[in-house]
Amino acid sequence: MIEKVTIKKNHARQVAESLLKGISPERKNLIFFLHQVQNHLGYFPEEVVLLAAQYFSVSPAEIFGILTFYSAFKLNQSCAHHIKVCQGTACHVRGSEAIMKEFSRLLGIEAGDYDRQKSISLETVNCLGCCAIGPVVVVDGQYHARVNLKEIEKIVAGLTAGEKSDETCEI
């Protein structure tokens, strides 16, 4: 168990180091780097933040502040599957609230929470910029347009059937 943790730690560091290779150490590039880490690693272990702090000459506390400010960044190792339910105005008037509730009911978790066992996270977003096809649900990067309540069961079933391991992130 301990070994597995250290492997993961080293992996995170390696990912961060290789990402830094293409980025110059100016402060303005920090957010870009953080997005890259989020995309490739999915979360921010402390050592990655410390590495970034040293590289960009920003205090670790300040980076932590940025990470907690933007909802795009996750502090904890995230799940294999991400469900984002749009709660923007256009989706809202087309019933996205009910859709959210249905996801909650089926998964047994609230918005912003995750199911460790099934490795599914559920969150709300505030407009994805494609209001015309609302209500929109994004599942693992795939957009589902004009979602209705009946479809939700299918989406959830599809996710729980073939469970992926959470160590698939590669660059």
Binding site: E62, F64, G65, S71, L75
Partner: protein
């Protein structure tokens, strides 16, 4: 004084303002009050509280006065029905998340009698229980705006307090998110511990991954306490002073060379409530650190001071009257040959007291009047100057102010811990665009703020600097006009900069980077601390800095870390006192019966007992006091008036306010009583031929001739370079380490702040061993584990703390000099050791 040159109108009143100041400042200087909760002079404007909104003629919207610069011809309105209404609503919004019932209560004036508010208020029980009560900016603003109601529903944040840390408590439920603490922590102090976390409703003051302050490497300087407008940041154990009469006493902190002016608040029960920086001109630049603030408070609060004289009769100690004790001392002084009598003192006392003691010794015709000074810092500088006929001009060269827009090259000196006032000045300049290079073989809290940092191997600082010098000498911007340039260049040409760099533990690229960086900066100042001269090769270190500073046209600022050092070094230079840097020397003299009678003023880590020992100290807690034949309690100097000399050579005055009842007899009175018994006239420092109103630092090197400026390299230095280059050895064993022995100033009069002050050990544990994380895993250890380090003569125990700033193969320790062994390794500066591996 800057010229006032802008004229504007505030509330139809013509106001003159300096260019660059905000409207709020201009109004304040003109005597106008604008409510503000986030603005604080000295801190960058945050404009987060929105209370200082003003109306400017010709502008469509309201502007925050704190973040609006005063302009020529501006017409400003700071108060009107419209503005006050706006402010009231803003305050209502602020208060909707801060318990406000006490602020609105109509009976608040009679709160002490009625205590009705308590039942209405939320945690922490209303203003009456808040440590900020009576000194709260929120209370002030609420009463200015005369708030009667809060129209928004009260939202109880119900967040847990941070209470695990020593000295500082944060109550997030009282926080109004003004950001002053975040600002002072990062921008002024350079600590960067506090930050805003989360967003929207959930916004809070936080730390890196919500660690405790202690785990975030907080230095507990207490600046956040000074700036907090509410009770959100408060000193642990501090209760509101409602109704109590608090007296204050200003004094100069003797715990390092900064000599910060502090103020002790003493309650009616004569117990020290707290120690705060004495109000200066700019509140946000409040001085002080954990030692003066919390360490001294612990000493003052808990009655740790020795109160009565004791005399040793056979094997027991007994209380004795002052007369009895003094006559025992006098008898011993009369009976012992002056040649075999020695006086020794520690420097943390007022100059008046020290002079009186030294003078008494001189009257007795003693040849051995010692100042225990293990750093030997100033005396080594003087020796270097005299030997080489150069002028570091130590004392006179120390400017009172730093060069404007200068750049700083800091060597082996952690200013945050050794000279926090200088650090705050440098930090100010860094904000204004200055640059800073840190070269340190040990641990240095400044590295995080440095533009460039260099980590040579301990004891190889000279080679690292020579590598830089070697490259610099060939540059066109090198100052070649001083004599000796050609010779120096020729000598150094035998060595490749790459080889020098590698032998010092740096890579050759970093030396090239540093040379380019040096070229890009202007007016460099080299600042080095006692650690740089506590090494075996201190002469080589000084040589390297000297030549490099000449080549760059840079200034040199040697930084002492002990109070009064500048003054006492002068006395030593005049031959009035001798310096004792190794306690072993005195112990050997005692063993050989060359010293049979010893009078210790202050505390020293001595374990050998002479035939007669007098200890005159604030605390009766050291083994030395227990060995003494006569123990005399010293007068605690915060209760006493007197002068101390800081690192710039300036006098700092502890004013006298009152004599405490039951206060021990002053030291000077004791010395005069001794004089009387010895049949000598009374003496006071004013009789001495030293003008205390002048800079006593100047006296320190008055004996030195002005030195020449010339490049030079000694023969031993050349040999040493050759040796270092050829004897390059790979580290063979993972358990072998070079140990850097850093300074620990948490000791006052032999009183160990770490042991005596609750919580202090949590903040600063002298048993901590800093180690590179990679060494921890190589040795199969875990952070926080206790290890045993074997040195040549003895073993040391310590708890390891990972620090990625430490070079692999190096350990950093900060022992308190409480015994001869620790003083010995401290004196050596860098020692070799082996981590004892556990056999499993």
């Amino acid at each position: 004084m800057e010229k006032k040159s802008l004229s504007l109108k505030i509330n139809d009143r013509p106001v003159e303002a300096r260019p660059g100041i905000s409207v709020l400042q201009a109004a304040r200087e003109a005597g106008l009050y604008i409510p503000a909760l986030c603005e604080l002079e000295g801190l960058p404007p945050l404009a987060s509280c929105r209370l200082c909104l003003i109306k400017i003629k010709g502008r469509p919207s309201f502007a925050p006065a704190c973040a609006t610069l005063a302009e020529e011809g501006m017409e400003v309105e700071t108060s009107s029905e419209e503005l006050e209404k706006l402010r009231l609503t803003t305050l209502e919004m602020i208060l909707s998340e801060h318990p406000y019932f006490c602020l609105l209560c109509s009976e608040k004036a009679d709160c002490d009698e009625l205590k009705v508010t308590m039942s209405k208020a939320f945690d922490p029980g209303g203003c009456i229980f808040c440590p900020k009560d009576g000194d709260c900016d929120l209370q002030r603003v609420a009463s200015y705006l005369n708030i009667k109601k809060v129209s928004f529903e009260f939202k109880d944040r119900n967040r847990p307090q941070w209470s695990k840390d020593p000295f500082i408590i944060h109550n997030p439920n009282l926080c109004i998110l003004c950001g002053r603490c975040v600002s002072v922590c990062g921008e002024i102090r350079g600590e960067n511990v506090l930050t805003f976390v989360n967003r929207g409703e959930a916004t809070a003051i936080g730390t890196f991954y919500n660690r405790s302050l202690q785990a975030s490497n907080c230095s507990f300087c207490g600046a956040c306490l000074d700036v907090c407008p509410t009770g959100a940041m408060s000193e642990k154990g501090l209760f509101p002073a409602r109704g109590e009469k608090i007296s204050t006493k200003k004094f100069v902190c003797p715990l390092c060379s900064c000599g910060c002016e502090l103020e002790a608040e003493i309650g009616e029960d004569k117990v020290c409530r707290r120690i705060v920086p004495a109000a200066g001109e700019k509140p946000a630049f409040f001085l002080g650190c954990v030692r003066g603030r919390f360490g001294l408070k612990g000493l003052l609060a808990d009655h740790k001071l020795a109160e009565s004289q004791t005399v040793r009769i056979k094997n027991s100690r007994e209380k004795a009257s002052l007369e009895q004790s003094l006559s025992a001392v006098v008898t011993s002084l009369k009976e012992t040959n002056p040649e075999e009598t020695a006086f020794i003192f520690a420097e943390s006392n007022t100059i008046e007291n020290l002079l009186s003691f030294i003078h008494l010794g001189q009257e007795l015709g003693l040849k051995n009047i010692f100042w225990y000074y293990p750093e030997n810092f100033l005396t080594r500088l003087i020796e270097f100057e005299q030997q080489n006929q150069v002028g570091l001009n130590y004392c006179s060269s120390v400017p009172e102010k730093l060069p404007e827009n200068g750049c700083f090259f800091i060597i082996d000196s952690d200013l945050k811990s050794e000279a926090v006032t200088l650090w705050l000045e440098i930090k100010k300049q860094l904000k204004a665009g200055s640059r800073m290079v840190v070269l340190d073989s040990g641990s240095n809290a400044l590295e995080g703020q440095a533009d460039l940092k260099l980590k040579p191997l301990p004891g190889k600082e000279d080679l690292a600097l020579l590598a830089v010098l070697r490259l610099w000498l060939d540059r066109p911007d090198c100052l070649k006009s001083w004599p000796g340039w050609k010779e120096l260049t020729e000598k150094l040409r035998h060595y490749q900069p790459e080889d020098l760099a590698l032998a010092s533990g740096l890579n050759s690229d970093s030396v090239k980077t540093i040379v380019d960086f040096l070229a890009s900066g202007k007016s460099w100042t080299f600042i080095f601390g006692q650690r740089f001269l506590r090494q075996k090769n201190w002469k080589e270190n000084l040589l390297a800095v000297w030549n490099l500073s000449l080549a760059l046209g840079a200034g040199i600022w040697p930084l002492s870390s002990k109070i009064n050092e500048k003054f006492l070094a002068g006395l030593a230079g005049q031959g009035q006192i001798k310096i004792l840097d190794e306690i072993k020397e005195l112990e050997n003299k005692i063993k050989a019966k060359k010293v049979r009678n010893l009078y210790v003023y202050g505390d020293i880590p001595l374990t050998e007992k002479p035939e007669f020992l007098t200890v005159h100290n604030l605390f009766f807690n050291s083994s030395l006091a227990d060995l003494s034949h006569v123990f005399l309690p010293a007068s605690f100097w915060p209760g006493e008036s007197g002068h101390l000399v800081d690192y710039t050579g300036q006098l700092k005055e502890s004013p006298s306010t009152r004599e405490q009842e039951g206060h021990p007899v002053s030291d000077q009175t004791i010395f005069n009583k001794l004089r009387a018994e010895l049949g000598r006239a009374e003496w006071s420092p004013s009789k001495m031929n030293i003008n205390l109103s002048e800079r006593p630092g100047a006296a320190a090197t008055s004996l030195l001739k002005p030195g020449m400026k010339r490049y030079f390299l000694s023969g031993t230095m050349m040999e040493k370079i050759g040796d270092s280059l050829s004897s390059e050895k790979e580290r063979m064993l993972t358990e072998e380490f070079i140990i850097v022995v850093e300074q620990n100033l948490d000791l006052y009069g032999g009183f160990n702040l770490t042991e005596g002050v609750p919580g202090y050990q949590q903040a600063r544990n002298p048993g901590t061993v800093l180690i590179n994380p990679s060494d921890i895993s190589h040795l199969g250890l875990e952070a926080g584990e206790e290890i045993v380090i074997k040195l040549e003569s003895k073993a040391l125990k310590g708890k390891i703390k990972p620090d990625s700033g430490i070079t692999p193969g190096v350990l950093v320790i900060r022992p308190l000099l409480i015994d001869g062994f620790l003083s010995d390794i401290y004196h050596q500066g860098i020692v070799k050791g082996w981590v004892e591996l556990k056999n499993e």
